[in-house]
């Protein structure tokens, strides 16, 4: 550890939840230390106990959870021994927390200013004027423009990124010694996430607060932390300085997590994803020896299962500890993986099965009185795209760019208000789902985002599939039962799962059932709307591979909607980058991910967190605000935030669509050759003289 007295120390802490079923040990025996001013990341998949650890520090475990054994020491004091009054002084003043959802952390009926000023007034006894001055200073530090005005706002008038900055400001305003960040960027768009992460780094240096950073995302941890602890099943399985961990991971689970991550720089042929087999064990079901042994590819049963495995230092690296008996003898990990990637689809490129021409969708706000109408929300604003049969088109963009609206129009859940959608020979843009004939419904099916609501909690998994088979293919009962078993096999699920209801299935299993249901009609086109974004990385890798295999093996055309550029890079043949209802850039995946790129694509790519702590790519931070979708600018929609903004031309004239080789197109005023030159130079763009653009609005799409 460090030579200094640790700020926070966990000493053989055991945390249990007490339920009707009895004591459930979530964290069996956890020890770690965090020095003053240090940043420690805790990573792991859902259910590994990382949030429980965060909550146990401030004693927020609730009535059911309790620290059963061991001690949590903060600044030399045992936190469990503090009285409620002492604890209140520690919380907020010495320890501050930032949670995942900023909406839940801010009181909706108080202005931001009231909430921010409360902290110094309560903890430091400042008067309102001094507290206000401090709040203004703090808001400026978290890079919020016009702090005086922001103080008067209510939380709902701010965007998600602004809200999270305010929560961070509120946490730091008392100058805490320890800042606990629990998945602080999980709900945010990638460009906003990049800005928040940079902010956390900068503030940490300035305030010298120690940080405990909890995340499932290895990339964000690599960007913020000095040291990283990997948790599995409530245990710390590996702990190392950040560079050490990502270049020479010693525990097979850490390696497994890294192998599950698609890399932005490489396509699927060079680095196929290797999902970790099996599932995270339920808490309380712990094997005798190593907890990871049942899923480990390097398992040596007599040694691994013989008894508890200790967290031991690696001989060559004193700060690096791993809970693996074979940690010293495993071959060195490399980011290049072997294995077989789903391939073959690219060959069958042919005629377009799906063609969008000038697609528009407007939402008219209803509820007007006597013909009163506010402006329509323009979700899609002339989208032209084509998907060749048997290929994968990925649509990427941040929230509010219209990608989900596009999926809903393709699937007939909504209808277009302009333009055309041709599916094969048919025009389907104006054809809602209840007017689509059965053969058409069979042709195009959909996989949804949320594994928790994609299946009806009242019906079994088998029912969901057989019902689809009967409705879409008209199979009789017996035959649909047989066909259902075959589909379960295709999505790699055991047949006995058919009798289970959704609450008895894991997230990945539910998503597999949903894929089987979408395949029931033997569709030619599958539209998948963020099918993996709610899943853990190891499960995500398996589902992404499954989609790739299905697409390659069955020749299905896949429209894959995602905000995750690394997954898109891995899975797609063609990519379309959307911004505010328009296509900013589209083309073959390799062309889109290499210069020349649209300035927006460039910013997105630079924002993606990667698991390389030495990553020093220039980060392009998007400033300015998103124009409101009710009042789109006349010129380029990206002009208000574009780092390569040219001036009045961008504001006044819609950008021309530049067509390059191989179907690559970029909608930008800057000539492609110039873009290529600028982007190859490696100098980050700086937005010059940008005062034009629409006035900032609070609207966040």
């Amino acid at each position: 550890m460090t030579d200094r007295e640790p700020l926070l120390a966990f000493e053989h802490v055991r945390i249990s939840y007490f339920t009707r079923a009895g004591e459930l040990t979530v964290v069996p025996d956890l020890s770690f230390q965090l020095g003053a001013g240090e940043a420690l990341g805790l990573v792991g998949e859902s259910g590994c106990g990382k949030s429980t650890v965060a909550l146990s520090i401030v004693r927020y475990l609730g009535r059911a959870g309790r620290v059963v054994a061991g001690r949590i020491r903060f600044e030399g004091r045992d936190l469990a021994a503090l009285s409620d009054a002492e604890l209140r002084r520690v919380r907020g003043r010495r320890i501050a927390m930032v949670y995942q959802d900023p909406v839940a952390s801010l009181n909706p009926v108080l202005t931001v200013g009231r909430q921010l000023m409360e902290v110094p007034m309560l903890h430091d006894g400042l008067g309102p004027a001094a507290a206000r001055a401090r709040a203004v200073r703090m808001l400026a530090e978290v890079n919020l423009a016009d702090p005086e005005r922001v103080l008067e706002r209510y939380p709902h008038q701010l965007s998600g990124g602004q809200q999270q900055r305010i929560v961070i400001a509120m946490a730091l305003i008392a100058e805490p010694a320890l800042l606990i960040l629990d998945e602080p960027t999980t709900g945010l768009d990638v460009t906003v996430e990049a800005a928040v992460l940079d902010l956390v780094r900068a503030l940490r240096r300035r305030h010298n607060s120690a940080i405990l950073y909890i995340s499932h995302n290895l990339g964000t941890v690599a960007r913020v932390c000095d040291r990283v602890g990997v948790m599995y099943g409530g245990e710390l399985v590996e702990e190392a300085p950040v560079r050490q961990l990502f270049t020479d991971p010693r525990h097979p689970y850490t390696r497994g997590l890294l192998d599950c991550l698609p890399a932005l720089g490489r396509d699927r042929h060079r680095a196929p994803l290797a999902p970790i087999p099996g599932q995270v064990p339920a808490p309380g079901v712990r094997p005798r020896g190593c907890g990871f042994a049942p899923r480990c590819g390097h398992v040596d049963p007599p040694r691994c299962l013989g008894g508890p495995v200790a967290l031991l230092e690696i001989a060559a690296a004193p700060l690096h500890r791993a809970r693996c008996v074979r940690a010293g003898e495993l071959p060195r990990w490399t980011p290049d993986r072997d294995g077989t990637a789903p391939t073959g689809a690219s060959a069958s490129r042919g005629e377009a099965i799906l063609r969008l021409e000038g697609l528009r969708k407007e939402y008219r706000p209803g509820g007007g009185w006597l013909g009163w109408r506010r402006g329509a929300v323009r979700a899609l604003n002339g989208v032209d795209l084509a998907v060749a049969r048997g290929t994968t088109l990925a649509i990427v963009g941040e929230s509010g760019c219209g990608k989900s609206t596009l999926a809903r129009i393709l699937s007939g859940l909504e209808i277009a208000t302009g333009g055309r959608v041709r599916l094969g020979e048919l025009e389907v843009g104006m054809l809602p789902i209840d007017r689509r004939p059965r053969p058409l419904r069979r042709t195009l099916q959909m996989v949804f985002q949320n594994p928790d609501s994609t299946l009806n909690p009242s019906h079994t998994a088998g029912y969901a599939i057989t019902r689809a088979l009967r409705r879409l293919r008209g199979l009789p009962r017996e035959e649909s039962r047989r066909e259902m078993a075959r589909l379960l096999e295709i999505v790699q699920l055991p047949p006995e799962l058919a009798a289970r209801k959704p609450h008895q299935l894991s997230g990945g299993q539910k998503q597999r059932v949903a894929i089987a249901r979408a395949l029931a009609g033997d569709p030619e086109v599958v539209v998948a709307d963020e099918p993996v974004s709610a899943l853990d990385v190891s499960v995500q890798a398996a589902i992404v591979n499954l989609l790739g295999e299905l697409q390659a093996g069955r020749g299905t055309t896949l429209v894959f909607i995602s905000h995750d550029l690394a997954v898109v890079r891995y899975l797609a043949d063609q990519v379309a980058v959307m911004y505010l209802g328009t296509v900013a850039e589209a083309g073959p995946v390799d062309a889109v991910f290499a210069p020349p790129s649209h300035p927006y694509t460039e910013a997105l790519l630079s924002a993606v967190p990667v698991t390389d702590p030495d990553d020093r790519r220039p980060r392009i931070l998007l400033e300015g605000t998103l124009p409101s979708a009710t009042a789109l600018p006349r010129g380029c929609p990206f002009a208000s935030r574009c780092p390569r903004y040219l001036g009045a031309l961008c504001d006044e004239t819609p950008p021309p669509e530049q067509r390059l080789d191989g179907g690559h197109r970029i909608a930008c005023h800057i000539p492609a050759a110039e873009l290529r030159r600028l982007q190859a130079s490696g100098v980050p763009p700086a937005r010059a003289g940008a005062t034009a653009g629409p006035p900032p609005t609070s609207a966040r799409a």
Partner: protein, 301 residues
């Protein structure tokens, strides 16, 4: 929490598969077992079950016929060895009348609640699913019904069409359905956008299927709790109707009617009206406790 009755009611018969029967029986047993995990639910269920048993076994349990007069007892109607709860002013055994009265209450109230729930659920599903003008018509019509002072409405209707069990059920069904429709409409608005509902639409299911098979089963928890609460209210209401003299026609025993007949003698013989009151109260408390317990169990999941 898997409430057995409503689940069975909500599921179309053709979905039942022979292979699933033992599993479903086990699920029922589990659901019943869950009730014992909550103290209020257990007590409530015990009270309700006791009354149901009493009503079923009334012919065997009651010592006298409910309308038989024991004129010897009129002189001293207070509880005695011959008449455990005493007799009323006409010498009719109060215990017998309470037991027989349970039969009518426990027939009329559940039928009225079931009717109101069925009608209300259908209206609520339709309004929430289609929205637009259908929602407007259904919701406003319900609001209009709810603005009436119900007692006056009952008096008008029952005075016009005559007072019978059927009419009471009908009028309670119509006046209580809007409240349930409101609950179901809210749940439907929330559930109609769920991805499994979209998936059902994508495979071309009819609106009726989506409403009854995809949406309604997921609204059963709040509905079941509401049904238990509503049973309590309805029992009180039937008592009030009896008290106002527009309840079940005499001479058959009716708890509210028993109070009405005897409350004038309250200062002399309080037992004549207090025992029927106690019967009403205990049954209402039973249903309310059951509702509280079921809600507690639902929240625990």
């Amino acid at each position: 929490m898997t409430p057995p009755t409503l689940e069975a009611a909500a599921r179309p018969v053709r979905l039942a598969r022979p292979a699933a029967r033992p599993a479903r029986l086990r699920a029922w047993a589990r659901a019943l077992g869950r009730v014992t995990e909550s103290a209020p639910a257990s007590i409530g269920a015990a009270i309700v079950l006791a009354w149901v048993l009493a009503a079923c076994l009334a012919p065997a349990l009651s010592p006298y016929a409910p309308n038989a007069n024991d004129f010897a007892a009129v002189a001293s109607p207070t509880p005695s060895r011959a008449h455990w709860l005493g007799t009323d002013h006409l010498g009719r055994d109060i215990l017998a009348r309470i037991l027989w009265g349970a039969r009518t209450v426990l027939t009329v109230a559940p039928l009225a609640v079931l009717g109101a729930t069925a009608l209300g659920a259908l209206l609520g599903l339709t309004a929430g699913y289609y929205r637009g003008w259908i929602d407007l018509v259904v919701s406003r019509a319900g609001d209009i019904i709810l603005t009436f002072p119900v007692i006056i409405l009952y008096m008008i209707v029952l005075a016009t069409f005559g007072s019978s069990a059927g009419n009471i059920i009908a009028v309670l069904t119509v006046t209580k359905a809007p409240i349930i429709a409101r609950i179901v409409r809210g749940l439907t608005l929330e559930l109609r956008g769920r991805e499994y509902v979209l998936a059902a639409k994508m495979r071309g299911e009819s609106p009726l299927y989506v409403m009854l098979v995809e949406i309604l089963p997921n609204a059963r928890g709040p509905l079941l709790v509401d049904m238990c609460l509503r049973m309590g209210y309805t029992i009180v209401l039937i008592g009030v109707l009896g008290f106002l003299g527009i309840g079940l026609p005499p001479p058959d025993p009716d708890w509210g009617g028993m109070v009405k007949d005897t409350y004038g003698m309250m200062s002399v013989w309080p037992h004549m009206s207090l025992f029927p009151c106690a019967a009403i109260s205990s049954l209402v408390i039973g249903f309310n406790l059951l509702a509280v317990g079921l809600r507690e169990l639902a929240l625990r999941d």
